[in-house]
Symmetry: C2
Subunit: 253 residues, 2 copies
C-alpha cells in the first residue's frame, strides 16, 4: 500500500530532510516512527530535501508498506510517537503511481526577515534580522526580474548535481508587514523546482537590491552570465520555510 | 546613576523573570551580563515577574550603579554578552525617582492559541493548541465581562501574596486571525496590574466559554463569589507574552 503524508517541522534541530550518518534528519525521524506501525522497515521519500535549519509548513512525502492501521489514522498514530518538532498533518492512501518527488508541479517557499536595531528573541527562530533599511519598491522590482523561465546557474550553490539549471519561477512576491511595531518582510517564491540553495540566494539578491548594496543591473547580469559573483550572500537557513507542494491531482482529496 | 532597560526574551528556557536558587532566570542572566560593565554587582528590578515559560516582547526594568558606558550604549554592550534568547531593546538614564515596578500604570499581555487537528510545530513555541471549535462571539462576550474594576480573587492561583485581589482591567480583546490556513486566536489584556496567573486563568475562562464547556453565567459567578471552581484550567505558560508596560512619563523619551 502506498501512503502520502503531509508533514510540518521546525528545522532548528534537524540536519535537514535527508538521512545522514551523523545527524538527526527529518527523514530518519519519520522512518523510525513509521517502523512501529509497519510490518517491515519503510523508506520515506520527500518532495524536497530541505537543508539543515530550514522549516516546513507542509512538506509532502510518500512511503510504501504493509500496516494494519487505516491510512487516514496513520496521522494520529505517528504523531503519538514523533518528537514535538515534527508532526504529520495529513495521511491518505494514494494510487501506486503517485510520486511525491517527480509528481510535484509547483513548490512554494517563503523567506522571512525583519528590520530592527537589536535581534528580537521572539522572531529570531524563524526569521533573519536585516541591518540596513530596505526599500520595498526596489525589492519588488528585483523580485519581478526573477520571475519566468531562466537559467538560474548563478543562483545555485556549488556542489549541485542537477542536470540543468533552467527553472521556471511562476511568482516572486515581497510583502511588508507590521508585527508588534517591527517591520517584517516576507518573500514568497513559487516555481516548478529549485536548485540547491536557490531560494536563499534569490532572497539574498532581493535584500541586497532593497538595501542598495546591489542593483537590478547586477541581478540581470547574474541571470545573463550565470556568474555568482554578481550576487550577495546566501541568506541563513532559519529564515526559510517550505510552504506547500502542489500536484496535478491533490493526493489528499 | 539609574538606568531603565526594555528587554525582550523567549521564555522557553527560563525559570521565569525572578532569580531562583536552581534555575536560569532572566533577572540573573541580565545581572550577570551587567556586572561586566559596572563597578560593583547590580540588582535589576523588573516591572513584572513573568513565570517560567512566559515570553516578553518589552519588559521594562531598572538598575542602579556606576559605569563608564554611556547609558544609551548599554543596550549594545549588554547584547554583546547576553545569550540569544534575551535582548535589550532600549537603555536610557532615568530620574532617580523612576521605579519600573511601582511606577507601572498599564500592563498589556497577550495570550495566543490556535485551532488545528494536530499540533503545529511552527506555532507550538509561542501558542497553545485548542482542540474544540471556538465561537468568537461567545469569547468576546466573556471578554467584556472581565473588563472594569473587579475582585479577581477567583482568577488568582493559590499562593499569591497580594494584599488585595481588586484590579482594574481596561480592555480585553479577542482577535481571530488566519495564519497559513490555520485559525489563530489572540486575547489581549490591558490592566493596572495582574494577580498571580490571572491572565492565564482569564484566557482559560474565555476559551472555555468559546468552546461551550462553560457559560458566561459561570464567569459572572466566579467574579461574584471569588470561587475558582466556576472556572476552567489555567492556560499553559508558553502561550503568554508580556507585550508592554506603560508609565506616566515614558522613561525612554
Amino acid at each position: 500500500m502506498k501512503i502520502a503524508l503531509t508533514v510540518s517541522y521546525d528545522g532548528t534541530h534537524f540536519c535537514g530532510w535527508q538521512r545522514q550518518k551523523n545527524g538527526r534528519s527529518v527523514q530518519q525521524t519519520l522512518e523510525e516512527a513509521a517502523e512501529k506501525f509497519f510490518s517491515s522497515p519503510v523508506k520515506i521519500a520527500g518532495s524536497g530535501r530541505t537543508d539543515a535549519g530550514v522549516h516546513a509548513l507542509a512538506q509532502v512525502c510518500h512511503l510504501e508498506g504493509e500496516t494494519t492501521v487505516p491510512p487516514e489514522k496513520l496521522r494520529e498514530c505517528l504523531n503519538g510517537v514523533l518528537p514535538p518538532d515534527v508532526r504529520v498533518l495529513k495521511s491518505a492512501k494514494v494510487d501506486g503511481s503517485f510520486d511525491c518527488t517527480r509528481g510535484a508541479k509547483r513548490k512554494t517557499y517563503r523567506y522571512t526577515a525583519y528590520a530592527a536595531e537589536s535581534e528580537l528573541p521572539l522572531l529570531e527562530r524563524y526569521a533573519v534580522r536585516v541591518k540596513e533599511p530596505l526599500c520595498l519598491e526596489k525589492m519588488r522590482a528585483c523580485a519581478s526580474l526573477l520571475e519566468g523561465e531562466h537559467d538560474f546557474k548563478a543562483f545555485c550553490a556549488a556542489g549541485s548535481s542537477a542536470k540543468t539549471s533552467v527553472r521556471t519561477v511562476y511568482a516572486v512576491t515581497v510583502e511588508e508587514k507590521k508585527s508588534d511595531g517591527h517591520t517584517v518582510y516576507e518573500i514568497t517564491v513559487c516555481g516548478n523546482g529549485f536548485l540547491y540553495n536557490m531560494v536563499r540566494i534569490m532572497a539574498g539578491a532581493i535584500f541586497s537590491v532593497g538595501s542598495g548594496r546591489r542593483t537590478e543591473e547586477d541581478v540581470l547580469l547574474a541571470l545573463q552570465t550565470g556568474e555568482r559573483t554578481h550576487l550577495d550572500r546566501t541568506m541563513p537557513a532559519k529564515g526559510l520555510t517550505m510552504v506547500s507542494v502542489e500536484y496535478e491531482v491533490d493526493p489528499f482529496l
